[in-house]
């Protein structure tokens, strides 16, 4: 059994996002799985999902380290294979090889769609870089404990320094080579290189958390043709 987790809180994404994700998983994941939805509002979510209380993951009261709550899924009633998926992703093709493979370390997305030198290396010292994405993450039972433990031990410094989970992961753990990554070409960013690979992300939250103003239109999933899943 694979435990897949997704977080739905507040009003940015509604139940349609959850139900379409479940439908896509049924279509593109060919191993037994359970989708656990950690939410503050289960209204309209298909009964096929297991509903969990979002506030169980809220270990800290903070408006920093956006989506740190994902890390509280680690060592939290784990199956042999565990994953978390953001709601605003589109699964294009069979992800079974990614999910069913061994994950000896917790595995994240490296933003291959952006130039590392231009987008992350050059501004690194400013603290504004981020080349890690946590929209599709998997780990085998027990192998990610180090990340949860580090986060709890260093929480005061982490909360002070980072406004998002991905930036924390990039500056503290990618820098020290502690993370594993999916291979190049498996993921795309709709707003950068369109719909490619096995999974397409929309990756708009950093625009809000970093208060980035841009002239370019960044699409949310529900603004595209990919949203409706038959």
């Amino acid at each position: 059994m694979v435990y897949l987790n997704t977080l739905k809180w507040g009003d940015k994404y509604d139940e349609k996002y959850v139900n379409r994700l479940y439908t896509l998983l049924c279509r593109h994941l060919h191993v037994p799985f359970k989708l656990r939805v950690w939410t503050d509002n289960a209204k309209g979510i298909t009964n096929e999902c297991e509903i969990r209380d979002y506030y169980e993951l809220e270990k800290y009261e903070t408006n920093r380290v956006f989506t740190y709550e994902k890390l509280m899924l680690i060592d939290n009633d784990e199956a042999d294979i565990n994953g978390w998926l953001d709601l605003d992703i589109h699964i294009n093709a069979d992800i079974t090889p990614l999910v069913d493979a061994p994950h000896p370390n917790i595995t994240f997305i490296w933003n291959f769609w952006n130039s590392f030198e231009q987008m992350s290396l050059r501004p690194y010292g400013k603290g504004s870089s981020c080349h890690v994405n946590s929209s599709f993450v998997f780990w085998d039972k027990g192998v990610a404990s180090w990340l949860r433990d580090f986060t709890i031990t260093w929480w005061e410094q982490i909360e002070w320094t980072y406004n998002s989970l991905d930036k924390y992961l990039f500056y503290q753990h990618a820098r020290n080579g502690r993370l594993s990554y999916w291979g190049e070409g498996l993921f795309s960013n709709y707003n950068v290189n369109g719909q490619k690979g096995l999974v397409t992300l929309f990756n708009t939250s950093h625009l809000y958390t970093n208060n980035i103003k841009t002239d370019k239109k960044h699409y949310e999933l529900h603004e595209t043709d990919l949203f409706v899943v038959e």
């Binding site: 010292g125 504004s128 410094q157 208060n211």
Partner: protein, 135 residues
């Protein structure tokens, strides 16, 4: 270096300094020319292969501080005074750049955040605030 600025008289009082998060390497070289031993801790991975840089994060990594600690960009990190006890020279700006977790708007903020027990001097110059003290 503009030696008329108070910070340079603060810096030149010490035989040994540890700079944190300083991207102005000219200042470091000038101080070294004056015979001051300078350690340069910088988390920027661009300096990974630079033999003159200790490429570590002064807050999160295991690092050694020597002499007076000079934090050149306090707006970018957790307060150094909370993990180091001794003489400190602190510099921060109020610009709120993307990546600044802690914009510095006053000397009082630096003194409080870094838990300084003694303040030797302080001043403001444009967007920058400078404090010399002890934690």
């Amino acid at each position: 270096m503009n030696y008329t600025k108070p910070i340079y008289s603060w810096l030149s009082k010490y035989d040994e300094l540890t700079f944190v998060a300083c991207n102005d390497f000219d200042i470091i070289h000038q101080l070294e020319k004056m015979g001051i031993k300078v350690h340069n801790i910088n988390y920027d991975i661009k300096y990974k292969s630079d033999p003159y840089v200790i490429n570590k994060d002064a807050i999160f990594d295991d690092v050694e501080f020597h002499g007076c600690v000079v934090h050149w960009n306090c707006e970018k990190t957790y307060p150094i005074g909370r993990i180091f006890s001794g003489d400190l020279i602190l510099r921060g700006d109020s610009q709120q750049h993307n990546g600044d977790c802690n914009p510095i708007t006053s000397a009082g903020q630096l003194i409080h955040q870094n838990k300084l027990t003694e303040v030797y001097d302080q001043y403001q110059e444009g967007i920058h605030t400078y404090v010399h003290g002890r934690s």
